[in-house]
Amino acid sequence: MSVTSGSKVEVRLPSRLGFEKVAMSTAAGMAKLMGFSDDRIEDLKTAVAEACINAMEHGNQMNASIPVSVILSMKPDELEVKVMDNGTGMQTPAPTPDIDRKMTGEEEARGMGMFLIQALVDEAEWVPSAGNDEQSFVRLVIRMNKESE
């Protein structure tokens, strides 16, 4: 099938845990439309879920009335996803979880979201808010015919 690039889909969710699953469905639908394989779609779903949860928690401070925007852009042979929140944002790179330190309690059990995002997609970039009314976002890219590792 031919991919029509230049097409954008935007979905806006309340900052309420559970709604990241709606964004997962939208992202999966878009990736399927572009012809991505089921395993790449699973990678994308997890990355999108983690990015939405972080946007809700750390960006929008779980204020349900502040939406998380997810912008899905079809490009030739790749899908770009921006997950935007109203916080000040984060910079790449993500912390790598250390299971040994987690097991001894030196590191919190949680704190794997950004690592998973980076590990599962082909590109992940965190862009802090540029000030004013600019939103902070994480930008993910999955490419056709690429494995995640």
Binding site: R16, L17, G18, F19, E20, K21, D39, E42, D43, T46, A49, E50, I53, P97, D98, I99, D100, K102, M103, T104, G105, E108, A109, R110, G111, M112, G113, F115, L116, A119, L120, S148
Partner: protein, 119 residues
């Protein structure tokens, strides 16, 4: 908007003849699942439940907060000398569990039968 978990608990016998306690999760495993995952584990007597199988076959959604709860169980089990094995993960979540290093502390089996036959 997060589903409550039902956790089924069952005693199974391994190929070796040893008993194993199976905890079968379902629905979503996320930050709302602390009671289901950590709570259910902690309610087990540590002396009489030396081997525990965590079965994710019925799980529809799993995120990093849910995985953190599994790590918390692994940590407590390691301290009390219990063995944890895991089964029923999809290929995707098998990959994810491997990525975060869980395989250093728990063996992953494709399904219950595979787990029981090699224990």
């Amino acid at each position: 908007m997060q589903t409550a978990n039902k956790v089924l608990q069952q005693q199974l016998t391994c190929a070796s003849g040893q008993q194993i306690t199976c905890l079968r999760f379902s629905g979503d495993i996320s930050s709302a699942s602390k009671d289901a995952v950590v709570g259910t584990y902690q309610a087990l007597d540590k002396a009489s439940n030396k081997r525990i199988l965590l079965d994710f076959k019925g799980v529809e959604y799993l995120n990093s907060s849910g995985i953190a709860l599994v790590i918390q169980v692994l940590m407590e089990a390691s301290k009390s000398g219990q063995t944890i094995v895991i089964c029923g993960l999809t290929p995707h979540f098998t990959k994810v569990f491997t990525m975060v290093g869980i395989t250093k502390y728990a063996t992953l089996f494709s399904d219950e039968a595979a787990a029981l036959s090699s224990l």
